[in-house]
């Protein structure tokens, strides 16, 4: 079929739209991959599931009596535990209002040696409510045998 001007213009428009859609898809996929944060519990981290993630979220309970403040800065260290593991956490900054012993928390950050360095710490919002995703993650970690990950 010969290409008349209208047809040609339509073809150009369709190609442009396709190119834009492809570009958008690539950008979205790249942005998603770079910003996906997994939520893991201390026992999952200790069984090696955190390897391969630069930053991830660590969820669990603050171990009673583990909160240690530095005397001259805002640095604080504490231990996050779940049923089968414990992980020392270091954070510099202001902790959320509800942060205290035995509180469930989610910290975002990365591993530095055996210690988790957090850039953000969130605590649950009221006395009775534990974030659903944290509850699920902890239940899942509990059900798994230590050392055996469910991801391939």
């Amino acid at each position: 079929m010969p290409m008349n001007p209208t047809r040609k213009r339509r073809l150009v428009i369709v190609l442009l739209i396709l190119a834009a859609a492809t570009l958008a898809t690539v950008l979205v996929v790249v942005a998603l991959q770079n910003n996906m944060n997994y939520l893991l519990t201390p026992s999952q981290v200790q069984s090696g599931q955190a390897s391969g993630y630069k930053t991830f979220r660590l969820g669990g309970m603050v171990k009673a009596g583990s909160i240690q403040r530095s005397s001259d800065s805002l640095k604080v260290t504490f231990t996050v535990v779940d049923a089968g593991g414990a992980m020392p956490v270091e954070y510099t900054g202001i902790l959320p209002d509800l942060f205290r012993d035995n509180q469930s928390v989610i910290a975002t950050g990365h591993m530095a040696g055996a210690r988790f360095v957090a850039t953000e710490v969130l605590a649950k919002h009221d006395e009775t409510y534990m974030p659903k995703e944290l509850k699920d993650a902890m239940a899942k970690a509990h059900a798994e045998k230590p050392g055996i990950g469910n991801r391939e």
């Binding site: 213009r9 958008a24 950008l27 979205v28 942005a31 998603l32 770079n34 910003n35 996906m36 944060n37 997994y38 939520l39 893991l40 979220r57 403040r69 005397s71 001259d72 800065s73 805002l74 510099t92 900054g93 202001i94 902790l95 209002d97 509800l98 975002t108 919002h125 009221d126 006395e127 009775t128 409510y129 974030p131 659903k132 995703e133 944290l134 699920d136 993650a137 991801r151």
Partner: protein, 657 residues
């Protein structure tokens, strides 16, 4: 006894909603005037019963009726009366009641003002509103009864979440919901148009102010929410890409696209199918937003623990609304489509590009927001998508919109002229570049800030040039009709907003510090002196209150009192102190005492210097104002349907392609 009356009122309202949703549809189909006439009285009756139920819940809160579970869960004897009223919409059940109440207000207004529309069409529109009400009332009556009893009755209730005990929060949900629910009007129009197989331009004209008002309310609601998060959450941020913020932002984006698409359809008849599709999506996303916020499906600041029955109901309801309307769209849209053709260089093209960018941005936000659910379903583990995903993609998508915005008004419908565009481009570009260079010296060459200034000038000069063109070319009295003035205000608002965002992000100084009484911190020319912490009390809280004296060149600027409040049920809430200004905010929040229990010693403090942060909300308010001013345009009101369709410009059937 009265709570049961509330329940009964809701059941009666549900029955009336069924009548309103079903009978007029049958009437419109069979040409039965009696059945069509049911719509208005049924809508009015339903509104009366819902208002009654709402009043009863307010009454229960005001009179401490803790035998009602919802009241006992969300208030107590110490809660001041104004927060007891706000507590009505402080949790799931009451929020839904507020939603349906606002839907009724919109429906009654629609019933009252729709006499100028053809009877069959108006009946269909009101019926769709009725069907929406059926869904919500059924949800309330069957899964989320706000009047459920608690026996034995406790002596005192729990508490309203302290985060919500703030004037901003009392007012944020009703405004936001007014916006969400307002999109139901455009939705009802779209569905009625699809059902009848035609959508005349005059009807779209009639629908436009409703969409503008809804969008303006939504804008105000989002601005209020953003301000509240800034002042109340104690983090000093104004937007977090939290799932709930996203939930309100998606309908806003689609609504912004819809406003512009409706303008094209009304004036030219083109993009009819697209307008209908956007109407469907704007409302569907409003529904999704309502449910995302309150269902607890996604972990968020606003989520409550949920009941699985509710999740199933929501899923079914959303499937019916979205699936049903899209199916109808697929069947009928080709019949409705049509309108004048337009060239590549035309106002239509620019508006269409803007529309596509808004739609893609909404889709991008939707993907990022729902990704945790997708990840869960695919068993990828517990994933969340971090704010940088949105922060990277959103500005990228909005860049073409900002770049094209000054040109849209100058282009003609159908076919534009390129010499004029080159002239505008030259003026706007030179002005933006010149201001950017000057700004570079004031902001230490920070790129984001320079771009912010350039964007403001780009958009602002574009608005001024167009305003000047109207002033020069158009006779007095017709220069700035509401539609035009609203557009100029809103576009200027975008410029102010963009400048506020970029300047705040690049020039803010945040400092988390440990301070002992008497110590001073120096931030951007301001000296923050910490004068210690003392105890104070409020109506239902005790607080540790800090005193921070801010000076600049030894002149006192402000004395700030940030608080750490403790509410009766042990909840702790940070109240930040803000010294607001047009060009900068000073912001102080109390962290915790460094030596647990000793409030007189050193504290962790968060100090902020936030230049231009108010421009963010100022820009939002200008956009809102633009929406309202546009809706007030006389052109949308005076014309009767008959006259409108008779005028040459508005022949509905012309150039069907």
């Amino acid at each position: 006894m009265t709570p049961e009356l509330g329940q009964l009122a809701l059941i009666l309202a549900l029955l009336l909603a069924l009548a309103q949703g079903v009978l007029p549809l049958i009437g419109a189909w069979r040409g039965n005037h009696a059945l069509m006439a049911v719509a208005r009285p049924a809508a009015a009756g339903q509104a009366v019963f819902v208002a009654f139920a709402f009043g009863i819940l307010v009454w229960a809160f005001l009179h401490f009726d803790f035998s009602v579970q919802y009241v006992a869960d969300n208030s107590n004897l110490e809660l001041p009366w104004y927060y007891r009223i706000a507590a009505v919409w402080g949790a799931h059940e009451g929020s839904l009641l507020l939603w349906i109440f606002i839907l009724n207000v919109w429906t009654v207004a629609l019933a009252a003002f729709s006499y100028k529309l053809p009877e069959v069409f108006a009946s269909r529109v009101l019926a769709v509103m009725g069907l929406i009400a059926v869904g919500f009332l059924a949800f309330i009556v069957f899964t989320s009864d706000p009047f459920g009893r608690l026996l034995p009755m406790p002596g005192d209730g729990a508490d309203l979440n302290p985060v919500l005990q703030d004037p901003g929060m009392a007012f944020h949900p009703p405004v936001l919901y007014t916006g969400y629910v307002g999109f139901s009007v455009a939705f009802a129009f779209a569905i009625a148009g699809l059902l009848g197989g035609e959508l005349e331009q005059a009807w779209v004209r009639w629908a436009r102010p409703w969409t503008n008002v809804a969008w303006a309310f939504l804008t105000l609601g989002i601005v209020a929410g953003s301000w509240w998060a800034y002042a109340e959450l104690g983090w000093g941020g104004w937007w977090f890409w939290d799932p709930v913020e996203n939930a309100s932002f998606m309908p806003w984006l689609v609504g912004a696209a819809l406003i512009h698409a409706q303008a094209v359809t009304e004036k030219r008849g083109s993009l009819r199918a697209w307008t209908i599709l956007l109407s469907i999506f704007a409302f569907s996303l409003s529904l999704l937003g309502t449910f995302l916020v309150r269902s607890g499906v996604l972990t968020s600041v606003h989520a409550f623990a949920s009941d699985p029955r509710r999740g199933v109901f929501i899923l079914i309801f959303l499937t019916i609304v979205v699936g049903g309307s899209l199916l109808l769209y697929a069947l009928r849209a080709p019949k409705v489509a049509g309108g004048k053709a337009f060239q590549l260089l035309s106002r239509e093209t620019v508006l269409l590009i803007g529309n596509l960018m808004f739609a893609v941005a909404a889709a991008m936000v939707l993907l990022g927001t729902l990704f945790p659910l997708i990840g869960d379903a695919l068993n990828l583990g517990r994933i969340s998508v971090g704010p940088p995903y949105f922060g990277f993609l959103f500005p990228l998508l909005m860049l073409p919109v900002v770049l094209l915005m000054p040109f849209g008004p100058f282009l003609r419908w159908g076919k534009g002229e390129s010499p004029l565009l080159k002239q505008i481009l030259l003026r706007v570009g030179v002005a933006a570049a010149a201001c950017a260079i000057v700004a570079a010296f004031f902001v230490d060459g920070k790129l984001k800030a320079i771009v912010g200034v350039a964007a403001l000038v780009w958009l602002g000069v574009g608005v001024l040039l167009y305003a000047y063109k109207r002033w020069r070319d158009v006779p007095r009295g017709r220069r700035y009709p509401g539609e035009m003035a609203g557009m100029l205000l809103a576009h200027l608002g975008v410029g102010v907003f963009v400048a506020g965002v970029l300047l705040t992000e690049s020039l803010s100084v945040t400092r988390d510090v440990r301070m002992a009484p008497g110590e001073t911190q120096h931030i951007s020319g301001y000296d923050f002196r910490f004068d210690g912490v003392h105890r104070t009390t409020g109506p239902n809280w005790k607080a540790d209150q800090g005193v921070i004296t801010v000076t600049r060149d030894d002149k006192q600027i402000a004395v700030m009192h940030p608080q750490k409040r403790t509410y009766p049920r042990g909840q702790v809430q940070t109240e930040s102190a803000v010294d607001a200004g047009v060009f900068r905010d000073l912001y102080v929040a109390l962290g915790e005492p460094m030596d647990a229990g000793n409030i007189e010693g050193a504290w962790a403090l968060r100090l902020y210097y936030k230049p231009f942060v108010r421009w963010i909300w100022g820009g939002g308010l200008l956009m809102m104002l633009g929406g309202f001013v546009c809706a007030a345009d006389k052109r949308f009101r005076l014309k009767r349907t008959a006259d409108a369709t008779a005028s040459l410009d508005l022949q509905p059937q012309e150039t069907r392609a």
